[in-house]
């Protein structure tokens, strides 16, 4: 205990000695100015952050008195209108990070499936200046087409990626069997389809399309009509 006290007294004496020493007076002045400036900045910054007034969003609201009951009724109406935007029938939710596809109706999950989504890699062709990013697009889509025994018409990137020349004849682009037994078109060239590489399901390996296992794909093909909403995130 005595040791602690003596250490404390020694530190105190040293600091006071340093502080009151005449040769350090300019340093002390500078330190006082810096500390004062910092306190001023802290006060100004705090005032600026929490000063009174109304946020631009709230200020834009037209002024009209309303009771709490009015607000409650209005909020209930809005909540109903938002709920009405939700799909009433079955819909698909595609989680590109987790490589999962869930078939849902309301809040009920009807089927949970393992998929393969976009790899996120980039392909650049300096000769033509073209660039492809193999991401699965996010957003809301609808099933636009349903195809049985789809034929993959290989795009340019498929040849470039394989280090092959791009064929002049379009018939040379067709590759049967690569997309599985069925394909559900989402538009802009993106499909939910089958795969030859089933062991890769659950990983991000596709060029943007969503790959599914045979049974899951057959189930979706049978049960989902054209127009079904698909949410991709």
């Amino acid at each position: 205990m005595k040791d602690w006290r003596s250490i404390f007294m020694r530190i105190k004496a040293l600091s006071l000695g340093w502080w009151s020493a005449r040769p350090h007076w300019p340093v002390r002045k500078v330190l006082i100015c810096l500390a004062g400036g910092l306190v001023l900045v802290e006060l100004c910054g705090s005032y600026l952050a929490y000063r009174g007034g109304v946020s631009p969003a709230a200020a834009a609201v037209p002024q009209k008195a309303r009771t709490a009951a009015d607000w409650q009724a209005a909020n209930q109406r809005l909540a109903k209108k938002i709920a009405a935007q939700r799909p009433g029938d079955a819909y698909l939710v595609i989680d590109t990070a987790g490589n999962r596809v869930t078939l849902r109706q309301g809040d009920v999950v009807l089927r949970d499936m393992t998929a393969s989504c976009g790899s996120g890699t980039v392909l650049e062709d300096p000769s033509s200046g073209r660039r492809w990013v193999f991401d699965t697009p996010r957003g809301q889509y609808r099933i636009q087409s349903k195809v049985k025994n789809p034929l993959w018409i290989k795009p340019d990137w498929a040849f470039l990626e394989a280090g092959q020349p791009i064929p002049a004849n379009s018939a040379e682009r067709a590759e049967p069997g690569a997309m599985g037994d069925y394909a559900l078109g989402l538009g802009k060239g993106y499909f939910i389809h089958g795969t030859l590489y089933k062991r890769m399901l659950g990983r991000n390996v596709s060029h943007g399309c969503v790959r599914l296992g045979d049974e899951d794909l057959a189930h979706l093909y049978r049960t989902l009509p054209i127009g079904t909403r698909v949410f991709i995130f």
């Binding site: 900045v41 952050a49 946020s55 969003a57 037209p62 709490a68 990070a97 990983r203 991000n204």
Partner: protein, 228 residues
């Protein structure tokens, strides 16, 4: 004597009741503004993020449908990081930004060789757990993983005073540069932080629901003929 006592009690309670009523009113107004903004987003069909500080959760939604929900372990705010109308995510920044692998087509590569070299996919594990999200209205959202070990807890406790001491300096600096500055620091689990980084992409609209007490300070006491 008893009547006088009851009257005194009523006088004591009355201001509390009035404040509670005000709180509720402001809360309802904030709710209305948010619901209106959410309705507009739901109609548009695009995915959007709702940062709900009242419920301490983040909801990624589309057409009013929650696609994924993440729990907020804790949060700190500086200023009023509100977004009662949709604000787009402008950019993300991190010290460990994920990089996509690029395959440049070379004419010198013989047929079929490129196909044998699969590129490393851009996956969830590559996403950072600590990062900043810059919203269009000058609000910054800092995301960092919730502390797990005692050392991380200690570090996060020590970081709090440093955070509150540094924010006024940034506020003053931003004010001098003429730009608004509000910040929200969210602590969520590391896995959720990665998923949020993945799912909340640039251009995605965002809404922020502040806690009720803060809403009282920000929303005017009367509002909304156009609002429903």
């Amino acid at each position: 004597m008893r009547t006088i006592r009851n009257l005194l009690l009523l006088l004591l309670i009355a201001p509390i009741l009035v404040v509670a009523g005000e709180l509720s009113h402001a809360d309802l107004q904030q709710e209305n503004a948010l619901l209106q903004a959410e309705y507009d987003l739901a109609k548009a069909g695009k995915p959007y993020l709702l940062i709900d500080l009242q419920e301490q959760q983040l909801e990624l939604k589309a057409s009013g449908l929650p696609l994924e929900t993440w729990h907020i372990d804790s949060y700190r705010r500086w200023g009023y990081p509100s977004a009662l109308t949709a604000v787009d995510l402008q950019s993300k920044s991190s010290l460990a930004e994920p990089e996509r692998e690029v395959h440049v087509v070379s004419a010198a590569v013989p047929d079929g060789v490129a196909a044998d070299k699969p590129l490393k996919a851009f996956e969830l594990a590559d996403m950072p757990t600590s990062y900043r999200l810059h919203l269009g209205n000058g609000t910054d959202i800092t995301v960092h993983p919730a502390p797990g070990t005692w050392f991380q807890h200690l570090r996060s406790i020590l970081a709090v005073p440093a955070w509150y001491l540094s924010r006024p300096v940034i506020s003053s600096w931003k004010f001098l540069r003429g730009s608004p500055y509000n910040e929200l620091a969210l602590a969520i689990s590391a896995q959720d932080a990665r998923r949020l980084y993945w799912a909340f992409s640039e251009g995605t609209p965002c809404l922020i629901r502040l806690p009720a007490a803060v809403a009282t300070a920000r929303v005017p006491s009367t509002a909304g003929s156009k609002r429903q």
